[in-house]
Symmetry: C2
Subunit: 302 residues, 2 copies
């Protein structure tokens, strides 16, 4: 039985985020409209697109940015998804209960509406990325969303450094792994470590596509955002949103320093071709992987 | 407590293998001597270096190439490891019992002698790579060898496509992941698919180093080997043995089409620095990884 010809056109909305959440929402909706006008069927926004990256400091007031899901952002985006007949992946700051917040991505599917959400499983905590202060690690596990356009895996930023996350999402059937992202350089490190950091980031995500025979779509923000109250040097978000194929080839890459809308046609039948040629899933040693649930495999006697 | 300054100099023996096993052994020993003379402390040979890549066909006579471990090859290499005071990683065709064979790598550590073996866990089977005919999948699990020079992970070829193998080996403490390899192009595909295949191979292995904050050393063979009895077009082994760092940067890469000895100094303290900056091990969601022991995560009702 020949693989049926299937394509999916993805839209990457690389944003420079403003201070005002309403401005960012309107900007996002305008760029979604632009992407759809250029043929995009599945459109992904960057991580926490409604605000500056507030995790640069630990600020109780920033919890005011959170919202229930479904809530105001999904109510604004749902009619747009329906009108344009597109899938929208939107990363939001979720208020689940008093004192309980998540970094959550929602999937809205055209006429079908709200399809579900993924709560970021891996939470970073590094200078100017104080996410453990804000976000409870996700409790929904790794998910695949059977949208009208393709089977979509949705992960968020720090998840992109974990082969386990990509594998578990692919094993659920995801054909495309989406990574809404907010990653940048410390200005003092940009010149010395910037290319190395960016290369590692892109390389590891391309590798997720190779290991699992699927597409990868990473959507980052761009531009400089100062640290509130002069508590840090700020972050230079490195843009360079990209799409890579099941063979790891980079199919498109956005600019480093400005907003951009990328629209890329994906040949979903390539997944079948590549996995047939490189049958990695066939030979996994599932009898020997149980220690992946261990933190570290200390030698006896330690 | 500052990280102590530690280095390890690795030697990669990229070989063009001849038909006669004795010739290959002598060639390997001469190249090991050359690498040690240039300062190498841990020296790795390519996969199944004692013969042509016999897995191009399913040939009962090829089992005659197998040997017990320890056995003739370790007996030849042990005095050399002792004399040069180096670690040698040698990939051998192991005869374990009548009708029971493995693709096995041994670790010999200078004065300490035979340290142990790793049996290839993931066995491929593709046109001209008929390894499932020859090799029983390994039953020793993923291993780290505490040598006098560094903690070494040893994996073999097809293992390199599996993030699980790299992770489990790194969790056992490996500072360097070695991959003796025999990978090449089908001549008819070299022009159209060659660069893509090679890029995927190198990218995914570099990614293992990034995800786990360790060095990666891949040692391939080079040169064209015809398929016996005209049953195939032969294989063009692609050489390009390489070393990458814990940040994924390629530190050295061999030529594509000839034998070569690479000697590369590794700063082992960089592992600590990189892992401190990128604390991926800290945030693994070991509570959510148990499904990695599943073959595929079918949706309910399938």
């Amino acid at each position: 039985m020949p693989t049926p010809h299937r394509t999916c056109t993805v839209g990457l909305i690389q944003m420079v985020c403003e201070v005002d959440p309403q401005t960012n929402l309107e900007q996002a909706m305008a760029l979604i409209r632009e992407a759809a006008g250029r043929g995009a069927q599945v459109i992904c926004l960057p991580e926490l697109f409604r605000s500056p990256y507030f995790c640069q400091t630990e600020d109780y007031d920033a919890f005011q940015l959170a919202e229930p899901i479904p809530g105001p952002s999904t109510e604004a985006l749902l009619p747009l998804a329906q009108e344009l007949n597109v899938v929208i992946i939107a990363s939001l700051f979720e208020r689940r209960a008093a004192g309980l917040y998540h970094n959550t991505a929602v999937v809205l599917d055209g006429q079908r509406g709200y399809l579900g959400k993924y709560r970021k499983m891996h939470i970073p905590d590094d200078p100017l990325y104080y996410e453990k202060f804000y976000f409870t690690p996700g409790d929904l596990g790794f998910k695949c969303f059977a949208t009208s356009r393709a089977a979509l895996g949705v992960l968020v930023c720090w998840d992109q450094w974990y082969p386990e996350a990509a594998r578990l999402t692919a094993l659920r059937g995801a054909e495309i792994l989406f990574y809404p992202t907010a990653i940048g350089w410390h200005p003092a490190e940009k010149e010395s470590l910037g290319p190395q950091q960016h290369q590692a980031w892109e390389t590891l995500q391309r590798a997720h596509g190779i290991a699992n025979g699927c597409y990868v779509v990473a959507v980052n923000r761009a531009g400089f955002e100062p640290t509130p109250n002069g508590q840090g040097e700020g972050l230079v978000f490195w843009g360079q949103s990209f799409v890579s194929g099941p063979d790891g080839a980079v199919l498109a890459r956005g600019p480093a320093d400005q907003a951009a809308v990328l629209v890329v046609d994906l040949d979903l039948a390539a997944i079948d071709r590549v996995r047939t040629g490189w049958p990695f899933l066939r030979d996994r040693r599932i009898d020997a992987y149980s220690d992946l649930t261990q933190r570290w495999l200390d030698r006896e006697g330690d």
